[in-house]
């Protein structure tokens, strides 16, 4: 009688959706707003969730994608917290996030979306393919290329590292 509730355990879902949104539009209040909007819509349409069509996170990311697309192009992709003072023990983490965020923000829309889905929302290439309505193989190739372009933004150290295609396609 009671159907499977896609939002039964919301915390990990919130983190994954936020990471995806933040990779797309930049870390900060905009990402929080879009995440809230996504969950608001999910609560409203939770009855429409069909477990046969995929996992709850894929369903939520679909909603998040529509929310982002509905908002139009975002102006600022870098973190809003970039100039805020941070405690010293968090320095390395913060620098890492800022650097990754800036590098991802420099990519084009399509590459950014793939990186956000793969490394922000932690989806597999197959799940991304299902979500975007593409073939898994095509997504693997596109991800590989997006990573290549991202490496270029990091300089020669990044270029020397071998490309881990298998991990990208996991």
């Amino acid at each position: 009688m009671l159907r499977h509730d896609p939002l039964a355990n919301p915390e990990p879902l919130i983190r994954r959706v936020y990471a995806y949104v933040a990779y797309r539009v930049g870390d900060g209040p905009d990402a929080e707003d879009l995440t809230s909007e996504t969950f608001e819509r999910a609560i409203r349409y939770r009855k429409s969730y069909d477990p046969k069509k995929g996992e709850p996170v894929a369903w939520l990311l679909g909603i998040a994608k529509r929310c982002i697309d509905g908002r139009g192009p975002m102006v600022e992709l870098a973190s809003e917290h970039a100039d805020e003072p941070v405690p010293s023990n968090l320095e390395e983490d913060t620098i890492r996030r800022l650097t990754v965020g800036r590098a991802v923000g420099a990519l084009d829309e399509r590459d950014r979306e793939l990186i956000a889905l793969r490394y922000g929302a932690d989806l597999t290439a197959r799940q991304i393919a299902e979500l975007l309505g593409a073939r898994t193989n095509a997504i693997e190739v596109a991800l590989h290329r997006a990573l290549g372009r991202l490496r270029e933004t990091f300089g020669p150290e990044a270029d020397s590292e071998p490309v881990r295609k298998r991990e990208a396609s996991r």
């Binding site: 509730d5 039964a8 990471a19 933040a22 929080e32 809230s36 939770r46 990754v100």
Partner: protein, 139 residues
Amino acid sequence: MRYWRRRHEFDLEAELRAGRPEPSPDFVRRLDAEVRESGRTRVGGTLRVALVGALTAVMLMALAGVGGVGYAASAGRDAAVSVKRVVTPREVVRVLKKSPAIDQYAKKPKKKVKKVKKAKKGKGAKGKVRARTRPPFTG
């Protein structure tokens, strides 16, 4: 980018995972509470509907045990017949049609005159001609 240059080993995918944006704990807590609250309301509503359904089923079963369902069905059927009798005027019309006045003065329906088909000319004539041309039977 200096941060990256300082590092000896570079694993872009690991860095992308480690450096993925994290929401503030306060935001997570607030949204989590909101989502859980909405779920609780929904489950409460569903449970109420389920409880009402179960109670109805139990009552029906208890009534069926003492023949209450059959009694209710026949009462319903009687009510339907009564309503039908009141609503449909068919019986009254039938009585009026059978009154003596109508028997005596009512317009009688016209008798239908059957059309008689005329015999075709050609066929018979042809037969006669053939009989005439045939030689007489001599035994």
